[in-house]
Each structure stands twice: as C-alpha cells, then as structure tokens.
Amino acid sequence: MADEEEVADEGENVERVASAQSDVGLSPTQEKPLAPPKYEVRPGLGEKFQAQNIREIMLSTMQEQLVGRQYRADQAPRWAKSISNAVRQRVQDLDMKRYKILVQTTIIEMKGAGIKSGQRCIWDPETDEYVDDLYRNDTIFCYTIVYGIYMY
C-alpha cells in the first residue's frame, strides 16, 4: 500500500542536529539516525517537560556568569552566548525525550530605558511549555527563556 511505503522512507531519514560549543567554536552538524516513527502524541509519565529543573538550571547558570560583574558593552555579547549555550547543554542533559529546545538570553544595561516584551505562540498547550527567569544586579539585567516543543 502507498501508506506503508511512506512509513519506510521516513524511517531512513537522518536527523541533522546542530549544537554549537562556546569554548571550542562552532562544531560541524552531527548526523544521528532518526528513530522509526512511533506516533506518540503525548509525552509519557516521567517524560514531561521538567519546568522546575530547568528554572533552577537557568538561575544557576546566570548567577555563575554574572554575579559580581558590571555591564561591559564588549563582553556582554560573549556572556549572552555562553549563557544560552550552557543552558541549552544542561537542558539537553536532562534528556527529555522528543522535546525540541529553544533558549534565548537577553542582557540589558540598567540605564533607565523603558522596555516591554510580549509573546504569542501557536502550539499544543498540553505538550508544549516555556520557562523564563531573570537575574538583576546594579548594572545588568539578564532574561532567559526556554521553550520546549514536543515533536510528534
């Protein structure tokens, strides 16, 4: 049947995963064989998005990087990159199956500028979630948000 042929083809596709390492520079994309489709539309018990753990990861990463530091325009981009890479790596280590992870870090100088931020998503609210957190000191305001999107 035509349907069975399509299933067999998808099983042979290779998933290309890009992960950038902050201290070694960009590593080439790694190819991993994709698992055959299982048609699971909901995460199982124990496989749900671990919001609380991720929040602790974000807070500890931001504090490690930024505690005791003053805002510096030449170093802030590096801090932002290393925070988001570190958070992404540690969230990957939690090994939540079938979740795609997006991390975004924003570092702002505390200078009295007004700033407003908003977001909207079109996704499945039963499986997809986000966690955000912020870190403040006298000169730096750092906001990190992590999205977890379930892959059907």
Binding site: A73, I83, R88, K100, T106, S117, C121, Y152
Partner: protein, 115 residues
C-alpha cells in the same frame, strides 16, 4: 509535479514572514513615541495580527513569536539564542525595526510538525 509543490509547502519562507512582520509593525508603531502605557497594547495587536496571517499560510508548523520594544536611550541590549532542533525543517526569522524614539525586535520561530 505534485512533489515539488509539497516541498515548497513544508519549508519556512523567511522573506515572506519578514514582510508580514514589517507591514504590521509599520502599521502599528509608525511614527509613535515610546509610551509605557500604550506599548503592551501595540505588542498585543502586532503579535496577534502576525500570527493570524502566519496561520493563514496553512503550513505544517508550530509558531512562537516574541516581540521586544525598547526606548531609545543609549542603553545596550544583547541577545543570544541556542537551539536543539532539526535544522532541515525548523527555522527562525528576526526583524529589527526602529524609528526616532524606539527599537523593536521581533523573533519568530517555526518548528515543523512531522508528517
């Protein structure tokens, strides 16, 4: 061929999305001054309009849209992002827009539904 049409439908067209976003921002923020009270409303309007139009494109994607509006003040703002996804099907689109009084940064992420 039917297959070529399918491939076009399944990719994330960055330029098209950028145009949609820019139109909506121009329409809403145009020549306005940064206002602490009106900005949340502008953000709601722009995000809702943009997502409605993205939805109408009828592509098999989940969308996340984030928008930040900052007053022009000389303050520094840096953003970095890291992803763990499938780079052949998922995509991101960023639009930066400014006028005399404010900066506006819009991020759109599209994650493919496996079909």
């Amino acid at each position: 061929m039917a297959q070529e049409e399918d491939e076009e439908d399944f990719t994330f067209n960055v330029e098209e999305v950028q145009n949609i976003v820019r139109d909506n921002i121009e329409f809403c923020l145009g020549g306005n001054i940064y206002s602490h009270s009106r900005t949340p409303q502008w953000i709601s309007v722009i995000t809702e309009k943009t997502l409605a139009r993205l939805n109408k494109l009828n592509k098999p994607f989940k969308y996340i849209m984030r928008m930040t509006v900052t007053q022009k003040n000389g303050t520094g703002l840096h953003t970095a992002a890291a992803y763990f996804w499938d780079i052949t099907t998922d995509g991101t689109c960023t639009v930066r827009w400014e006028n005399k009084y404010m900066y506006c940064i819009v991020n759109i992420w599209a994650l493919a539904l496996q079909l």
